[in-house]
């Protein structure tokens, strides 16, 4: 599989940054007393328990997602940014995608077995999402190679070979 940093890759990366920006903007708006942040808290509330004791604070307000969710989001984003430079690891993981379980397993151990802390919650979330970013990039690359789904553009020369 040839992975390129082309349109779908940058779209995926931009989406991740927007997502993270929405998380921090909600806290900023709440901390500064701006309006409209309740909607963002409500949106994230449908995918996160938002328990304040289990969430980081920023800008004088509790973030709208918990430690683990923030770890998942940042892990995915960092994975997208870092994997283009990890050529060997990328090739190995794409050839053996079941090994992502090794990265996800600590999160389940942390959820169900261990008395967890904010650090373990964040780090195990980060670890679980980090390799999934590569799989998402791989999926986008496969879809992009199908001309009937995404017509191939002329500006995809920035190529990252394995």
């Amino acid at each position: 599989m040839t992975l390129r940093r082309n349109g779908p890759y940058w779209l995926l990366t931009a989406g991740c940054f927007l997502w993270l920006a929405a998380v921090f903007f909600a806290a900023y708006a709440r901390g500064q007393g701006l309006g409209g942040f309740g909607v963002l808290y409500g949106c994230f509330g449908s995918v996160c328990h938002q328990i304040p004791e289990r969430s980081f604070s920023a800008f004088g307000a509790v973030l709208p997602v918990c430690h683990r969710c923030l770890g998942l989001y940042t892990g995915f984003t960092v994975g997208l940014l870092v994997f283009p430079y990890l050529h060997r690891w990328r090739a190995w993981l794409l050839g053996n995608p079941r090994w992502v379980l090794l990265f996800i397993a600590p999160m389940f151990v942390d959820v169900f077995l261990l008395p967890n802390t904010y650090l373990t919650r964040y780090l195990t979330g980060f670890s679980a999402a980090f390799p999934v970013a590569l799989l998402a990039w791989g999926a986008a690359a496969q879809l992009f190679d199908q001309p009937h789904i995404f017509p191939r553009g002329e500006h995809d020369e920035q190529r990252v070979t394995r």
């Binding site: 449908s46 992502v100 799989l135």
Partner: protein
């Protein structure tokens, strides 16, 4: 990507209906607070069922998994929204009950989230439609990721092509 691959719609329907029903029945729907477990699970199930019938491939069909997962997410959004509206209208399960239930589980909602839930307007059809649309966007995103994960984990690797065998030596004629 595989040509002549099995039908994507049937596994997407199964995964989507399962996740949609689970995420619209109030006590079970709380599982979505665990990193969207139900949405991811729906996409994962769809990709898993899809690849059960797919032929082995050299590389994991992540793109196919993403498509099946996204389809399952759309089904989840439609089923979840429809069933959620029916439940809300029939039993009056509005935001107050949801807040009560979440606080019953020990969750302490931030005041803004609490206000947003309350302002979402009880069991009116408009509010339920808005909630369903927001949940639908999340369903498609996370179900697609679940589909990619399912494709990665269920992938059947094709055996590497056999090395070319040397042709048999020509017969020798003696005498």
């Amino acid at each position: 990507m595989s040509n002549g691959s099995p039908d994507k719609l049937k596994p997407a329907l199964i995964g989507g209906v399962a996740a949609g029903l689970a995420s619209s029945i109030p006590p079970i729907s709380c599982l979505n607070c665990l990193c969207c477990a139900l949405y991811i699970g729906g996409g994962f199930l769809a990709a898993y069922l899809y690849l059960k019938e797919a032929p082995p491939t050299a590389e994991a069909p992540l793109g196919d998994g993403a498509i099946v997962g996204a389809l399952a997410g759309v089904v989840t959004a439609v089923i979840g929204g429809a069933v959620g509206i029916v439940i809300a209208l029939a039993f009056g399960f509005g935001p107050e009950q949801m807040i009560e239930m979440m606080e019953g589980f020990g969750a302490e909602l931030p005041p803004e989230a609490r206000d947003a839930m309350l302002q979402s307007g009880g069991a009116t059809i408009g509010a339920q439609l808005l909630n369903a649309m927001i949940a639908g966007v999340f369903a498609v995103i996370f179900s697609t990721l679940g589909g990619v994960l399912g494709a990665a984990l269920r992938h059947k690797k094709a055996a590497p092509p056999a090395p070319p065998t040397a042709p048999p030596p020509p017969p020798t004629f003696e005498g």
